[in-house]
Symmetry: C2
Subunit: 384 residues, 2 copies
Amino acid sequence: MNADLRAIDDADLNPVHIAALPSPFALWRGGSLTDGVIAYECWGELNADASNAILLFTGLSPTAHAASSPANREPGWWEQMIGPGRAIDTDRHFVVCVNSLGSCFGSSGPASINPRTGLAWRLDFPEIAVEDIARAGWEVMVSLGVTQLAAVVGPSLGGIVALAFVACLPGKARRLISISGTAAASAFAIALRSVQREAVMSDPDWHAGQYASPAQGPRAGMRIARKLGTITYRSAEEWRNRFARSGIGPQGMRAAQQVRGRVPEGFGPRFSVEGYLEAQAERFVRIFDANCYLYLSRAMDCFDLTSHGEPSEVLARAGLEAALVIGVESDFLFSIDEQAWIAGQLDLAGVPTTFAKMPCIEGHDAFLVDLPRFDAAIRPFLGG
Amino acid sequence: MNADLRAIDDADLNPVHIAALPSPFALWRGGSLTDGVIAYECWGELNADASNAILLFTGLSPTAHAASSPANREPGWWEQMIGPGRAIDTDRHFVVCVNSLGSCFGSSGPASINPRTGLAWRLDFPEIAVEDIARAGWEVMVSLGVTQLAAVVGPSLGGIVALAFVACLPGKARRLISISGTAAASAFAIALRSVQREAVMSDPDWHAGQYASPAQGPRAGMRIARKLGTITYRSAEEWRNRFARSGIGPQGMRAAQQVRGRVPEGFGPRFSVEGYLEAQAERFVRIFDANCYLYLSRAMDCFDLTSHGEPSEVLARAGLEAALVIGVESDFLFSIDEQAWIAGQLDLAGVPTTFAKMPCIEGHDAFLVDLPRFDAAIRPFLGG
């Protein structure tokens, strides 16, 4: 769902590897994709019997650059979690992170080129489902010679994708780590995302998806969508500690200068938290394609594990040896109750399940921030 | 903060009574207002010693029409709380509800006429503070011959105004009822409101506040702002019960038809909760002026009881005989902790205080919905 935007520097936007999807690639809600590709990065080495692979799905906005590598030395979005001796230990595991199908960092999506026309797909890109993101990620692994995952892992949207993976691809993952995802979007989350999408689509620069380039796209609408996203990824408690009612500081003032051209003096940023939102949004708007955002946002609304059957039966069929479900008590976007429900269904399915309730105050984004707690939960689960 | 929009039918928009403010009316953050007026409605009769008056402030969006009366028989926004034998008993009390200074339902504000130009004030209206709303409300009471209130009462923005009232006008109220307000906006609430304002100001139809009429104003931006407001006035739990993941129904489909002209098929409302938001927003956009919205929204950010002095000392000076603070556990906009803080400061001030923690699931809006609980708290406090 979130990008730790420190991790999406422009240098990261060029994908390290590209895998071709089978063509045509049949889509979950009908239709198919021709000549589709998925961008990915990898760390560590596949062992002789191809039994040590971990597939990592991302939140809504990151690239596949989860950690640094010789090919891209910039820190990744989960740098402290992936590497030699890290919780996701690349001395022992072959770790692959994919850019989601439908995203704009090297994978096929509304911003990529439609091979039939030579132009960007835009809204002619077929509707994608979370299940398609999962299945496309699996195709990357197949292309690398993997026949079964040691673990499928994902936070936020990635957590939803990981559930879709075990539902769609029984027997293909021995372990599941689901972090701050959901088995079915709540009305509350759908409502928030619908407002974000409306902000994008209400911006005249969206031009019904036909903007000429991201730089000429619906930046004002994307800025609003991202600010609202940022609010829902954190918590009131964190912000009370972090910003309270402090006035805008020097960094915020730079953001405020940019805003000042857009709004009258009295309505520009006055509080520190407003400057923070502005800085977060500017960065996002610069790199993320609006149509891709709409597609991925809607896909999150539509996933529902129950559409695969009785959830505990679906999970029993998945063939998991063990599962780890992590939730954050201060997450009000994907609530701890939703995580508890997933863990409960895994229990019902007879899967040995650890449910880690994190008391972090950073809300939905805690997996990017409160790393020691996540390390402590993930490391032993992966045998470290 | 919220309007129960059932209560803002067009018939209600014509104010029943208008009181002139002293002119010039000095404003809290500097400057003054000439020829200002406040719209109000009243119920019951002032007794011989003028000791039975209750002043009610509203949330951000309602009119002064809190209850029906012979002059306007439409139900008001707090119809079940105000009347003969009701919790706010008009057999015993003279009850006055004011339309906030800065609002657009008869009181002076950005949408009213600047007497110097004969045109709407728009952004030339001076900045107003919550303190000004409080003091303007008091001037209405003075004009009616009241020298001291039996109680000052307010929910949401009205709760903030009620606190400002006792801080600015010591000795003028014997009792305080503060409902789901705050002594100082949280960073989280400021962030949410800043995004709402940005949605309005990013709409090209806002024209830097110079739209010709509300019908030609920033409707798309106001729609987004109101949808986000509606999300924050309720709770995820209520919506899980109320909407879950149900598809859009017949009523929502009508809303969806309207949306369909604005967005491509796949991104229009699919879920029941989206249709609900659409219906709420359409109604609001039709009646509420965008510039007034911006002014009142910013005023809420800026109130801070500590700017009046050490809070417990400010409250001790207020001369209150008793206070009732009501908070809702599921309110994530004005959290229960913020209500507890107000009650704690009143305790410190030596004011006999009742703190009612409501277990309602309707969030910030519970005062409009879960009326039996609010009746049970308010009725005994007002001697009923």
